[in-house]
Amino acid sequence: MAAELHVELVAADRSVWSGEATLVVARTTSGDIGVMPGHQPLLGVLESGPVTIRTSDGGTVVAAVHGGFLSFADNKLSLLAEIAELADEIDTQRAEQALERAKSDEDDAAQRRADVRLRAVAGR
């Protein structure tokens, strides 16, 4: 059995996902970072983007996070985000519509959000 780390993906108003994983890939402000069990204690600022969690039973969980950070210590990884959604929860059609709407309204924040959602779905 490979080593595992415990992952908590927490949004501001709810706990989104928690479980054991073998690898977590997230995008920080200075580039993508992969965290495996036994990593050195780490605190990083996350970019808006998809986070990929490879679970210990071989599955993959993809989530879209918008603004947040990750902290790793004692084999426990906390991903904190203001808004976080699992790729399974995202309605592709609605996200596409939101992207179109955001583009036509020139609402940068909304456009970025919709874009991150779609990328998370693509990585599923």
Binding site: V10, A12, D13, L43, S71, A73
Partner: protein, 305 residues
Amino acid sequence: MGAQLRVYKRRIRSVTATKKITKAMEMIAASRIVKAQRHVAASTPYATELTRAVTAVATGSTTKHPLTTEVEAPVRAAVLLITSDRGLAGGYSSNAIKAADRLTERLRGEGKEVDSYIVGRKGVAYYTFRERKIADSWTGFTDNPTYADAKRIATPLIEAVQQDTAEGGVDELHIVFTEFISMLTQTPVEHRLLPLSLEGAAEEAGTKGEILPLYDFEPSAEDVLDALLPRYVESRIYNALLQAAASKHAATRRAMKSATDNAGELIKSLSRLANAARQAEITQEISEIVGGASALSDATAGSDR
């Protein structure tokens, strides 16, 4: 039916209708408390993790950040007061306002200017009626606050803290809200959010005394702190809003419960009065009949003789 009796009957009807309304409001508030409590519980993991991380960065690095450093001689403080949009909650809003007044008084005593920031229509109404200056106010979401609301409140506050005092910035940020202790107890409390006191933060997270690991910072300690502290303030404000909402519902429930009880008492005493009035009316009628009959019999007896 006599006039007096009719008046009593009418009052009983109106009180009964009021009682039904307050009873319904009590039950609605009771169901909302549970929902609000669930929101508070759901936001706890984020707040705990965030506090832990902030404590870790602040203790693990020697970085100085405007949001954590104490100013030698603070000249201006911001007070964020959280009240409710709606009344019918007993002393809920006025207790929070009083707590804010006490805090303002104390800060003024320490020689600081005070900027008031207010959430909720009740607080805004109180301040505008007394023609006090409001730096900024937000209304319309106190019953069911979202994280976006907390963010909207936090942004100008953080800007004010980061600004130079000479240009209208503030040195300290205090928050006054009603803490939800239990269904029966809610007390207004005040906290100093900024500058952040690390011992306080550690205590909240329950990590006091625990040795925090030496973190690697990505990209750097300053950048992490820059990103973390506003999130921390937002999350504290969010938590305060949620607790205030739960407290408001609890206060409404209690106020409506006593209103319902009072209405019950009133109905009871009014029915007693109505009964007495009815009895008096009957007695009067009987005595009138008896009196009339005896007068009649007296009159006929007289004519016989």
